[in-house]
């Protein structure tokens, strides 16, 4: 093909559509980015500090294994609630979202129990940073889980008032995304702590 011929090729340019996501959901994802950075900095601080030695090693209380399972199941029931909302199945939606809320509370209770067992093991918040970090990780995650419970509560109330249905999914979508993220975050923290004990 000659140079002249190349110039003849008609360039069909499509107008580029402006990217558009639901802004509220986009805001949620950016919040998640900032929370990721918060925990990323915490865990890297943990690694930097651990590399310097003088590090207390201890066995993580077994209850954290159970609480991980509980949170995982709450994530499944959250998904169940979302799917029911999509199908306008209100009985299932209400059951599922209540189960999620109850499991969330149970998880918090178990985390607190985990702290008590740590105290029994004589690993205190004040002391070697290896123990302090565990309290900070679980505490910060717990704080975010409480905020997740608040979001969940608004979705729960909305569900019981029949405001969540196939045509109004934004609230429960936001709630489900955040809840799955918190679940994922805990699983990350848990395996991080197991690996780098």
């Amino acid at each position: 093909m000659t140079v002249e011929a190349t110039h003849q090729i008609p360039i069909q340019k499509e107008p580029e559509a402006t990217l558009s996501v639901d802004p509220k959901k986009f805001i949620l994802w950016l919040f998640i980015v900032s929370i990721v950075m918060l925990f990323a900095s915490q865990t890297s601080a943990y690694l930097v500090r651990r590399a310097e030695g003088n590090w207390l090693e201890f066995q993580m209380p077994i209850i954290f294994w159970y609480s991980t399972v509980v949170l995982f199941f709450s994530s499944i029931s959250m998904q169940w609630a979302y799917n029911s909302a999509k199908k306008d199945n209100f009985t299932q939606l209400k059951t599922a979202i209540s189960i999620t809320f109850a499991l969330g509370l149970l998880f918090l209770g178990m985390q607190f129990q985990g702290w008590r067992e740590m105290v029994d093991m004589k690993v205190y918040f004040v002391g070697n940073p290896s123990g302090s970090f565990l309290y900070v990780f679980t505490g910060l995650h717990g704080f975010h889980l409480i905020s997740g419970l608040v979001v969940l509560l608004t979705a729960l109330v909305a569900a019981f008032r029949f405001k969540v249905h196939a045509k109004s999914l934004r609230r429960i979508e936001i709630c489900a995304t955040y809840w799955h993220f918190l679940d994922f975050l805990w699983i990350y923290l848990f395996f991080f702590l197991l690996t780098f004990n």
Binding site: I11, K13, E14, P15, E16, A17, T18, L19, S20, V21, P23, K24, F26, I27, L30, F31, V33, S34, I35, M37, L38, A40, S41, Q42, A45, V48, R49, E52, N54, W55, L56, F125, V126, G127, N128, P129, S132, F133, V136, L140
Partner: protein
């Protein structure tokens, strides 16, 4: 059934729009969700903090330039911090330095600059009715306001505000018994900064969402004005780095108030060994500077974006290297995250690691030079209009170059060993980050004042303000390089103890006098700003004959910015002095089909797409329930 549900939808839609009608005074001016009002709130708060922050620097400059002077005339303001003999209290000197740094970096150049112009310009320049979430935006300002109140209150404590430097390194800041400034003042500093971080995250999340989701038809990323690119990238930097500062502050709070040992180890203070074992103060520095370095770009990038816009407009020329400008912004933003340890060359880090960070640091010179050259080549052979905004923009380029050059010196780990924590560093960052960003701020205010208040600022006063400030800044900070090379350390109360330092006393006096004059020059701006709000000449719709969308709104845009439809965008924002065109500017909303005489061949191709652009969805927030 379907008609019924449509009817319901309309009702819902109207219900959700009740708040658009006639808000009362509180909703309109105080707890406003309108981005223009929030921008002005940020602006006024920023100006207040700036005057306070600069006034503080004048007080400690007097101490440095005239260590023997009797300053009891300041007693009415500073009270107990001036001793019986008219001397400044050394503890309060440290507090002043710390507060000056904190206020100027965070409250003026982060919140005041980014908060004002991101809020004001993002919706106006991308063609949106308002921010993605007006409520979060309002919350962002009020978190900032609360942070301001807490910080301001700390100034009046008996023990004084925080005094460990704006970087608040532990263990000094972690132990209340370490010095006066680590007592309640430090706690309030941490509370204030935590609120400030929340404010910045809320604001930044909103900026990013708005730019990505709410651009008008045809406003593709390659047609965005460079201001918006800069604000977007700044917000991304903040989103990624501020949570890390929150982390650092949180662990510091635990160390201070709960007795943990994240940063503390084996400390012996006031004849007593502390129980803290196993912490690492270097850890704090890593966390702090992971924010701290991006923070300097959070401060500078909006100013660079504003400058790009103003220099192109007032040179009556397209910006040189539009894509290179975006690429260099992205490059600087990326590099900002991997150079933090160049603030820590003397912490005893592995010299090999030091040279890695040195290498990465010096690479920043490349995108920075791209920007500097692009500014200069945009000016080259332009029909330059020397408005005050333009002068300040050119001033910024000057500072960016002269301050950037010393950055190359400081970025070398070997040279940094001599220069670390001397006045050389002070001179460097005050020119490249402080004065450059402040000039971006002034440029932005002079340029967009007509859009904000519908009136013009006084041109003559603006010119006088520029020349006094520009010359003043160089007179203040240029001599500091020499003082720094001579080895004067930062944050020292006085230098007269050693022989080698006394030969620089007159230079310090000179700097102080220049600083005072520069400070007074700012009152010209204050007067010009506030009097022009009420008595300035009424502005035309497009006073600078500019291309961007904000000048297509009414002179005083109301709620929703455009009375009718949001304009569509067909071209980039830099069509200045286009050959063949009747006027020397073609606004972004003028389609190519109306400018056949000046179109380039490939632009004639784009006429075909105009109908499609017009058919696109508006992203109009008023068309959706919100």
């Amino acid at each position: 059934m379907s008609t019924l549900s449509t009817g319901t939808d309309v009702v819902v839609y109207e219900e959700e729009h009740v708040h658009h009608d006639d808000p009362n005074f509180w909703r309109k001016y105080i707890f406003s969700e309108d981005h223009k009002v929030i921008a002005k709130q940020y602006l006024i708060t920023g100006i207040f903090w700036a005057m306070l922050g600069i006034a503080m620097s004048v007080v400690f400059r007097i101490q440095l330039g005239f260590p023997d002077a009797d300053i009891s005339w300041l007693k009415p303001v500073l009270g107990q911090w001036i001793s019986e003999t008219g001397k400044l209290d050394p503890n309060f000197y440290l507090a002043l330095v710390t507060m000056h740094g904190t206020i100027m970096v965070f409250f003026v150049l982060t919140a005041g600059l980014s908060g004002t112009f991101s809020n004001f310009l993002i919706p106006l320049q991308i063609g949106a009715r308002d921010m993605a979430s007006g409520f979060l935006n309002m919350l962002s300002y009020w978190f900032f306001f609360t942070a301001s109140v807490v910080m301001f209150a700390s100034l009046f404590l008996q023990t004084g505000p925080a005094a460990g430097g704006w970087v608040v390194y532990p263990p000094l800041s972690a132990l209340p018994q370490a010095h006066l400034g680590s007592e309640l003042g430090m706690s309030l500093w941490l509370i204030s900064m935590a609120l400030f971080i929340v404010s910045q995250l809320l604001g930044g999340i909103n900026y990013i969402t708005t730019v990505i989701n709410l651009r008008t038809r045809g406003m593709t990323f390659n047609k965005l004005p460079l201001t918006i690119w800069a604000f977007l990238i700044t917000a991304v930097l903040g989103l990624i780095s501020f949570p890390v500062l929150l982390s650092a502050a949180l662990l510091l709070i635990f160390d201070r108030n709960f007795g943990t040992s994240f940063y503390l180890s084996e400390i012996y203070i006031a004849g007593e060994a502390l129980p803290n074992v196993g912490g690492s103060p270097i850890l704090f520095q890593h966390l702090f500077w992971f924010l701290g370095h991006p923070e300097v770009y959070i401060v500078l990038l909006p100013a660079l974006g504003i400058t790009s816009e103003i220099i192109a407009t007032n040179s009556r020329k397209p910006i040189f290297g539009y894509r290179a400008m975006i690429a260099s912004l992205l490059g600087i933003a990326f590099l900002a995250f991997i150079v933090w340890a160049h603030h820590m060359f003397v912490t005893g880090m592995n010299p090999f690691l030091g040279s890695v960070f040195m290498f990465l640091t010096l690479i920043i010179a490349v995108p920075s030079a791209v920007k500097a050259f692009n500014y200069i080549t945009t000016l080259w052979k332009g029909n330059i209009v020397f408005t005050p905004a333009m002068l300040f923009s050119i001033g910024l380029v000057s500072f960016f170059v002269s301050g950037g050059l010393t950055g190359i010196i400081l970025g070398n780990s070997a040279l940094d060993i001599q220069l670390h924590d001397t006045y050389f560093v002070v001179a460097h960052f005050h020119i490249v980050m402080g004065a450059a960003s402040a000039f971006g701020f002034f440029a932005g205010v002079y340029h967009w004042f007509p859009k904000m208040f519908g009136r013009m600022m006084n041109n003559t006063l603006g010119q006088i303000h520029f020349w006094m400030t520009f010359i003043g800044v160089y007179l203040v900070f240029f001599p500091l390089h020499y003082i720094g090379i001579a080895g004067f350390p930062r944050r020292y109360y006085q230098f007269t103890t050693y022989d080698f330092t006394s030969s620089y006393t007159d230079l310090n006096m000179f700097v102080t006098v220049a600083a005072i004059l520069t400070f007074f020059a700012q009152f010209i701006f204050i007067y010009n700003f506030f009097s022009s709000i009420f008595t300035g000449k009424r502005s035309p719709q497009n006073p600078w004959r500019s291309n961007t969308l904000e000048w297509t709104t009414p002179i005083k845009p109301g709620h929703g910015n455009w009375p009718g439809e949001i304009p569509a965008v067909y071209r980039w924002s830099y069509d200045y002095s286009k050959p063949g065109a009747a006027e020397d500017f073609i606004p972004q909303n003028v389609p190519y089909s109306q400018t056949l005489e000046s179109n380039l061949p490939h632009e004639n191709e784009e006429i075909k797409m105009e109908a499609e652009i017009e058919a696109q969805n508006f992203n109009d927030q008023f068309d959706q329930p919100h």
